[in-house]
């Protein structure tokens, strides 16, 4: 899994490429948590999943974990560019009831 991070004002934009499962979830958590610690001014998270072709419940779990963390900090989390099969899994898991999804990263940044 390739993860790249960019800070835009109070928002951390995380872009992922690859498959998010038991193995890569550990990497995802470590890298995102490190960035959140480094930038105490950051409150919001935009997660761009354009390059993510596969997610399972371990992947959803690690995303939910980051959502909870960001909420604790008083921020928002916005998802963007979910591939259809990934979107479906988020929906089945009930995560779309609590997280916002935008079609583009620009919109997501505006909402965050």
């Amino acid at each position: 899994m390739k993860i790249s991070v960019e800070r835009v004002g109070q928002t951390l934009v995380v872009r992922c490429q690859g498959e998010l499962d038991l193995h890569t979830a550990i990497q995802f958590r470590t890298e995102v948590e490190r960035e959140l610690e480094r930038h105490s001014s950051v409150t919001n998270l935009v997660l761009n999943l354009d390059g993510v072709s596969f997610v399972d419940s371990s992947g959803l779990g690690v995303i939910l974990g980051r959502y909870k963390h960001v909420r604790q900090r008083g921020g928002k989390m916005v998802l963007t560019r979910l591939q259809p099969q990934v979107h479906r899994l988020f929906e089945l898991a009930g995560l779309l009831k609590i997280m916002s999804v935008c079609a583009t990263e620009t919109e997501a940044l505006r909402l965050a």
């Binding site: 498959e19 499962d21 038991l22 193995h23 550990i26 596969f54 399972d56 419940s57 371990s58 959803l60 779990g61 939910l64 974990g65 099969q85 899994l89 089945l92 898991a93």
Partner: protein, 149 residues
């Protein structure tokens, strides 16, 4: 070369390391591609396999070292995936199958829910101290439609 018999399978064995979930998932999907599954169905098979193998790796051996066995079999009609560990087993299978139930606070408790909703059959055979065996079956949509017609 053997081409006559209708059944084909691949049996795998590997240590319970998280990075092997992806290897197992890809191999099962490659075998499934020999049947007439849609791309969406192959994605569903990948998720279900990933859940069963992740559980064996994570819950089955909980910090210990162990071997996970995966056997995928296809015939003209269906795919069968069997995932097995010789780990600690599940004390209450009915409870474990409940949505959101997990013994690990960091996890979603959706593994069995996904296995059940993405496959046509799910069988859980488990006993404390004796390990867990998950058997899943999926029939291609197009086959089901042909049978109904």
């Amino acid at each position: 070369m053997q081409e006559s018999s209708a059944r084909n399978y691949i049996a795998m064995e590997f240590p319970n390391r998280p990075e092997n979930v992806g290897v197992a998932r890809i191999a099962v999907a490659a075998l499934a591609a020999q049947l007439d599954f849609t791309l969406e169905e192959v994605d569903e098979i990948k998720v279900a396999t990933s859940e069963a193998v992740s559980n064996a790796i994570l819950h089955g051996y909980r910090g210990r070292t162990g071997v996970v066995k995966v056997r995928a079999e296809v015939d003209a009609e269906r795919l069968e995936v069997v995932v097995q560990d010789e780990g600690q087993g599940i004390a209450d299978v009915e409870l474990a199958r409940q949505p959101s139930y997990s013994t690990d606070p960091e996890r979603m408790g959706l593994g069995f829910v996904f296995m059940e909703s993405f496959m046509d059959e799910l069988e859980i055979d488990s006993a404390p101290g004796r390990g867990t065996r998950i058997r899943m079956v999926k029939v291609p949509q197009r086959k089901k439609k042909a049978a109904e017609a």
